[in-house]
């Protein structure tokens, strides 16, 4: 009984020991610089470091949560053990820093107007769910202890996420907030302490007036407060804690954070700061005249924080300007004016309310109206506020030794439609947009559609194309992939590949064999084969005839059609070959015809059967009506008879005694109503055949009961011949290998003329010389794997020559992993003169429509999202495959070097 426990204990022990060893190992390893460290390399199309110009095609190296390098890709040597993260087509910016928020406990605010001893950090709940801000890219915020009282307390700076809770507080006393705007001029004018039990330790406190009911009072009061604080004797133990903390803040030269609006408030704030010789920060000045001539290089000028008078997606009512006062300039113009006045990196932006933190970047883009560059505006929500909050060495910019707090954006920052893809704090992911697998938006340079080349990209939803072109609507969670200048072509079709079955299949198969059962899952050959862009492959046995299967080259191969065609071969002695082939086709045709006839007969039978059923019903109702008439007649007759007997009995003097024995004959429970109809029921049944007079009475002709039609006889089922039925009904294609000229003629004669089948020939040289014949008979030609040959010293480009005659073409590789090289082989044919469009059609739409693979082969709305992203035009050797998608899922993406 105890053995499992002790076993567990042993295991735990073992685990502990292992852990211990691991720890020892790690600590040992950390001494050596390279191993044991967590090194991550983040590649992105753009990195905006926050404190400098954008770096295109850049990489950022993060070691143990700190940035070590940010540079262009080529300029940084990437450590071999670095984990690579590719954000191709995306941009990285520093985690956003907000210069002022009130994300503190929202319990009742203090009613005291002056509380410098209050610390916002005490109201910060690190366990609160800040996910929505992290999802908006906000990683660091200033906390303000209150908004509407004169001196609400000391601010703090915290990170909104991160592993170590205690390290999330970057500053527990960042500034002393002083509100000089009208908000603070209406405190509860008289402070009324709550009335509770009065006791020795808690005497009834007197009510008292508070600061400040007017601006002048506020200024004078503040002056006095600071004066008292300065005079305070720190050694005494009975000091007012309020003054004591104020004195400490003055001594520490804490930043004074003034909320101001008008010129006179700005003036007063600056004067107070100057008098106290303390650094100052202005929040939301609506009038900036007073700030024009300032020397922004001075250390005591910490900066200015502006917020837009706008809320994301909501209407606000602008105030009507007072007639004789200069209207307040728009915030973007104020920002521009300050930048022009040389404010440099001392200008920050904050959202108007905490609610709008989720749309910080959207609102920030408003500042671009004034003519500020993306870089400048971005630094107003990253580098600048970080510097103003005194934490510029840790956050706000991506520079060596800074915390790896950064945001991955779907595109350029501060542009419409750009979304946050992921947020990192100290190198750890704190938000990752749940990439919606069902929707993908691919932005590229151009798209090859059946209607020509269209600029833009495609949108994919639920594995199908849902949009094509330059302006795509994508769902909110759609994963976005960008391939600037990429060319999107449909996924290629290989008309004969050996991949998918785990090797070459050379068995002779019955034509009804299901190749789909043989497909290999998670096959490495498939993974390699699709890297060239082939998304759909056809397979068959090399021993012909054989059924042909069409499948997608996904990890677990998806069957498109099984079978899609039958593959034959015409070779060797053509005289005997023709004979045997004709015999086979004839028997197939005969079988097919028998079934076709049966099908036709059966259809006719069904029609007849229906007619019969109707007739039968009519007959039955007629019969029932007759029976009823007969019944009533019989009943009448019986009644008459009964009357007669009763009369007779009455005459005999024995009344009604007969009734009882009668009922005893029947079941005792049933009443007379049920027993009476019994005799008439039998009567008409008897009457019908015997009594010829009755039908005549109804007046209906022909008592003939309608005859049930005979069901046609099913022909015998021959499994091996079954596939000929869809073949002859033109649902399947006959693919015929014919390498000689005569063989081609034979194929045309036999398959097209005699049996009228959808026919494709697999041929190279012979088809090229018989191109006109094939064109006349509408035969598709599959070429490959050899596309180019030599004849009479001349290079012959088979697909080129065939296509030139107007014959539809397709390609096959007949290899396994070589399938990935098929497009390269086709490029050679293109190089030798095959038209690019013909080549592309031959690799996609041509065989797809010829073989009725309706879901694939073209980039059209509603078709399967099989596509190849190329770095340039298709069938250029210089073009590289960047990515391959099958059914809406990426199956190959080029690795970054």
């Amino acid at each position: 009984m105890y053995s499992p426990k002790s076993n567990l204990a042993f295991k735990q022990n073992l685990r502990c020991t292992l852990l211990l060893w691991l720890c020892v190992g790690v600590s040992f390893v950390q001494n050596t610089p390279v191993f044991g460290q967590q090194i991550d390399a983040y590649f992105a199309s753009q990195i905006w470091p926050g404190n400098g110009p954008v770096i295109n095609d850049a990489v950022m190296i993060v070691v143990d949560g700190k940035v070590t390098h940010v540079n262009a890709r080529g300029a940084v040597e990437i450590p071999a053990n670095a984990k690579r993260h590719d954000y191709a087509g995306q941009a990285i910016i520093p985690g956003l820093v907000v210069a002022q928020t009130t994300l503190v406990e929202s319990n009742a605010q203090s009613t005291l107007a002056v509380t410098p001893e209050f610390r916002a950090v005490d109201g910060f709940d690190p366990f609160r769910d800040f996910d929505k801000y992290l999802e908006a890219g906000v990683t660091t915020v200033q906390l303000s202890p209150g908004n509407s009282l004169l001196m609400p307390g000391q601010g703090a700076v915290v990170k909104l996420g991160g592993k170590d809770l205690q390290n999330r507080v970057l500053s527990d006393s960042e500034s002393l907030r002083i509100v000089l705007t009208r908000d603070a001029m209406s405190p509860p004018t008289v402070y009324e302490p709550s009335v509770g039990a009065v006791s020795v330790d808690r005497p009834l406190e007197p009510t008292r007036p508070q600061l400040a009911t007017s601006f002048a009072e506020a200024i004078v009061g503040l002056d006095a407060l600071f004066a008292n604080a300065r005079e305070l004797d720190a050694k005494r133990s009975d000091n007012d804690p309020m003054l004591e903390s104020l004195a400490k803040l003055v001594a520490a030269k804490r930043t004074l954070r003034f909320s101001v609006e008008n010129n006179y408030e700005v003036r007063a704030a600056l004067a107070l700061a100057k008098k106290l010789d303390m650094p100052w920060l202005l929040v939301d000045p609506a009038e900036t005249n007073e700030l024009r001539g300032l020397d922004w290089k001075r250390a005591d000028a910490v900066g200015v924080v502006l917020s837009p008078e706008m809320r994301a997606g909501r209407l606000v009512n602008p105030t009507v300007p007072v007639p004789d006062r200069k209207p307040i300039a728009d915030v973007w113009l104020r920002a521009k004016a300050l930048v022009d006045a040389g404010i440099g990196n001392k200008l920050a932006m904050r959202p108007p309310t905490d609610v709008d933190l989720t749309d910080l970047m959207f609102l920030a883009s408003l500042f671009k109206r004034g003519g500020l560059s993306t870089e400048q505006v971005l630094s107003m929500i990253t580098n600048n506020p970080a510097g103003m909050l005194g934490i510029g060495n840790r956050v706000g910019s991506l520079k060596p030794s800074a915390d790896a707090d950064f945001v991955v954006l779907s595109g350029k920052p501060l542009e419409t439609g750009t979304r946050v893809v992921a947020t990192f704090i100290e190198g750890r992911s704190v938000f990752n947009a749940a990439a919606d697998n069902t929707s993908t938006t691919i932005e590229a340079g151009s798209v090859y559609t059946p209607n020509g080349i269209v600029p833009g990209g495609v949108a994919v939803r639920n594995g199908k194309f849902s949009g094509i072109g330059a302006s795509l609507t994508s769902s909110r969670n759609a994963s976005i992939k960008r391939f600037p200048n990429g060319v999107i072509v449909p996924g290629f079709i290989d008309c004969s590949t050996n991949v998918g079955l785990g090797g070459n299949l050379a068995e002779s198969l019955a034509l009804n064999a299901k190749l789909g059962d043989l497909l290999a899952r998670d096959n490495d050959q498939i993974r390699l084969a699709r890297q060239g862009g082939v998304t759909t492959g056809l397979i068959s046995s090399s021993r012909l005839p054989s059924p042909v299967l069409a499948f997608k080259l996904t990890d677990s191969p998806r069957i498109v059609r099984d079978p899609v065609a039958l593959r034959f071969s015409v070779s060797g002695n053509l005289t005997t070959a023709e004979d045997s082939m004709r015999r086979m086709l004839r028997s197939g045709k005969a079988y097919s015809d028998a079934w076709t006839k049966y099908d036709a007969d059966f259809a006719a039978y069904e029609v007849k059967l229906k007619e019969y059923e109707i007739a039968k019903k009519q007959y039955d109702t007629a019969k029932a009506a007759e029976a009823k008439i007969a019944e009533t007649k019989a009943a009448e007759a019986k009644a008459a008879e009964a009357k007669a007997t009763e009369a007779k009995k009455q005459a005999d003097g024995k009344p009604a005694t007969d009734a009882k024995p009668e009922s005893k004959d029947g079941t005792p429970v049933t009443d007379s109503v049920n027993t009476t109809p019994k005799p008439p029921e039998t009567k008409p049944a008897d009457a019908k055949p015997t009594d010829p007079a009755k039908p005549a009475e109804t007046g209906k002709p022909a008592a003939d009961e309608p005859k049930k039609p005979d069901e046609p006889k099913k022909p015998p089922v021959a499994d091996a011949l079954e596939p000929f039925r869809p073949l002859f009904s033109k649902k399947l294609t006959a693919i015929v290998e014919a390498s000689e000229v005569k063989a081609i003629e034979l194929v045309v004669r036999l398959f097209r003329t005699e049996f009228d089948l959808i026919t494709a020939v697999v041929s190279g040289r012979a088809a090229a010389s018989q191109a006109d014949l094939l064109a006349k008979h509408g035969v598709l030609v599959v070429t490959g794997p050899v596309l180019v040959g030599e004849e009479d010293g001349q290079v012959v480009n088979y697909p080129g020559d065939i296509a030139a005659a107007g014959v539809p073409i397709a390609f096959q590789s007949q290899t396994t992993t070589g399938t990935s090289k098929l497009p390269d082989v086709v490029s050679y044919a293109v190089h030798l003169g095959l038209g690019r469009d013909d080549a592309l059609r031959g690799m996609s739409q041509g065989p797809a429509s010829f073989m009725k693979l309706t879901g694939v082969g073209a980039i059209e709305l509603g078709k399967d999202a099989d596509l190849v992203v190329l770095s340039g035009p298709p069938f250029e050797l210089s073009s590289e495959v960047l990515a391959v998608m099958i059914d809406g899922n990426w199956v190959y993406e080029k690795e970054i070097k």
């Binding site: 406990e105 319990n107 916002a120 005490d122 769910d129 009061g221 002056d223 006095a224 007012d240 804690p241």
Partner: protein, 469 residues
């Protein structure tokens, strides 16, 4: 010894009546109870519990053993303990003997707890303990033999806790430890956490300063003296009207009006705080939620306090932070509850004991809490341990969490918490295995005296009696 006390003693004696083991014993008992002196003799006679399964908590359970009690202490425990002839014997066949439960945090023992005055470090719960309170009766009925009576969570600095036995005629008889710790609650009753913490810091700063002064060799009284000076000579009058008014008033509020009693209580309060700041006395810190835990940890390092964490239900979020301290915490009574994510509206079941166990934070239970106003009273205590067992806590650990672990946490493990030779004879005789729903406390023994017997529990009888027609 006046008449009343005598009467009490007698009652107590009767309460402690023991089923005679044999006829001879019955006769002896009857004989002895005839005279007063004999009664005294019987009170001091050793007591033996024989034939029961013994769970001593420390060490392996004894399948059938004997516990011998003399003079209120455990004299012997084991399989083959020789029972002296004069001992009273309780037949424990088929029963289970285990140490009495220890409640590490409780405010229900106070008849009128202070819920109004926020900063009263000088108060002591002793003044509010009523020995005949229903709480104690419940305790004895449900096996709690020691309890830390701690000021409630509704005041900032609530005063001094005391540890008591749950049976006794007078408070002084019950007390195990007076001034067992200072209670601090971080849950703001009025205002917000910023003001709560600033007020707390103000008090702690005062104490810290005083301690520092003492350390420098200055007279501790100096503070009081300067205070008087300050009052006599008001602050310079050069202050302008607006701000000074407020300032003066506020400082006035801090300086208590003079008067003998006030100064005394102020001094007592300061002394209590000083003890806390010096680390001489533990501080019960009540944390309502996770952010309070971070604040508490900050305070602990800032003022080098010796904390006993009393945690609200949602403190589980800070379990990992608490794990670093490796201290036993006191959990709220609501151990399992549902929480709704405010954004996704998804409900999540929170199993508190599981979370702390995963984080490797040792914990004990209590019957009070924010989310558990229950009519089950102290019987809930037992239920707590059973709940933890339901969610994966080994039974042995759960039993320890209501006996030895809380005793250790509040510093009385040398006296109670386990059945060991020399410890106080506080134990329970259960009808079956502990933590079993059908198990009853048959008898409760405190300091060697039977203080509860189910067979004489009128209330239980009436409760379980078939309803009258």
């Amino acid at each position: 010894m006046d008449h009343g006390e005598w009467q009490n003693l007698r009652e107590r004696q009767e309460q402690a009546m023991i089923k005679p083991q044999s006829k001879w014993f019955a006769r002896v008992t009857a004989l002895l109870s005839l005279t007063v002196s004999a009664t005294h003799l019987v009170a001091d006679a050793p007591l033996a519990i024989q034939g029961a399964k013994i769970i001593p908590v420390v060490g392996e359970p004894i399948a059938i053993g004997t516990v011998l009690i003399r003079d209120g202490k455990i004299e012997a425990i084991g399989k083959d303990v020789v029972i002296p002839g004069e001992a009273k014997v309780i037949d424990g066949t088929g029963k289970v003997v285990m140490p009495g439960f220890v409640d590490a945090h409780n405010s229900a023992a106070m008849t009128s707890a202070n819920e109004r005055n926020e900063i009263v470090p000088f108060l002591s719960v002793v003044d509010s303990i009523d020995p005949v309170a229903a709480y104690f009766e419940e305790c004895r009925r449900n096996g709690i033999t020691s309890a830390a009576v701690v000021p409630g969570n509704s005041t900032l600095i609530g005063g001094q806790a005391a540890i008591v036995k749950t049976a006794g005629q007078y408070v002084n008889d019950m007390i195990l430890k007076r001034d067992a710790g200072l209670k601090v609650s971080l849950r703001p009753v009025s205002g917000n956490r910023m003001s709560q913490l600033s007020r707390l810091r103000k008090e702690l700063d005062k104490a810290k300063k005083a301690v520092e002064k003492e350390a420098k060799g200055e007279k501790p009284d100096e503070a009081a003296e300067t205070k008087k000076e300050g009052e006599e000579t008001p602050k310079p009058a050069e202050k302008p009207e607006g701000g000074s008014e407020e300032k003066k008033d506020e400082s006035g509020a801090d300086q208590q009006p003079s008067g003998g009693n006030d100064a005394a209580s102020q001094a007592a309060g300061l002394e209590a705080l000083k003890k806390a700041v010096k680390g001489e006395q533990p501080v019960y810190i009540y944390c309502e939620n996770g952010m309070d835990v971070t604040a508490a940890l900050q305070l602990v390092t800032e003022y080098s306090l010796k904390p006993i964490f009393v945690l609200g239900p949602s403190c589980y979020k800070a379990a990992e932070l608490l794990a670093k301290r490796n201290e036993t915490v006191i959990l709220d009574a609501s151990l399992v509850f549902w929480e709704t994510n405010p954004r996704t509206r998804e409900d999540k079941k929170v199993i508190v004991p599981q979370i702390y166990r995963t984080a490797k934070v040792p914990f004990v239970f209590q019957t009070e809490g924010f989310g558990a106003r229950t009519s089950l009273g102290s019987s809930f205590f037992w239920f707590q341990a059973a709940t933890a067992v339901k969610y994966g806590m080994p039974e042995k650990e759960a039993i320890e969490a209501i006996t030895l672990l809380p005793a250790k946490r509040i510093g009385i493990a040398n006296l109670v918490g386990s059945l060991e030779v020399g410890k106080d004879a506080d134990m329970l005789i259960l009808t079956g295995e502990p933590l079993n729903i059908s198990t009853w406390v048959e008898q409760t023994i405190i300091d060697g005296k039977v203080v509860y017997e189910r067979s004489k529990d009128d209330k239980i009888k009436r409760l379980l009696a078939p309803a009258a027609e």
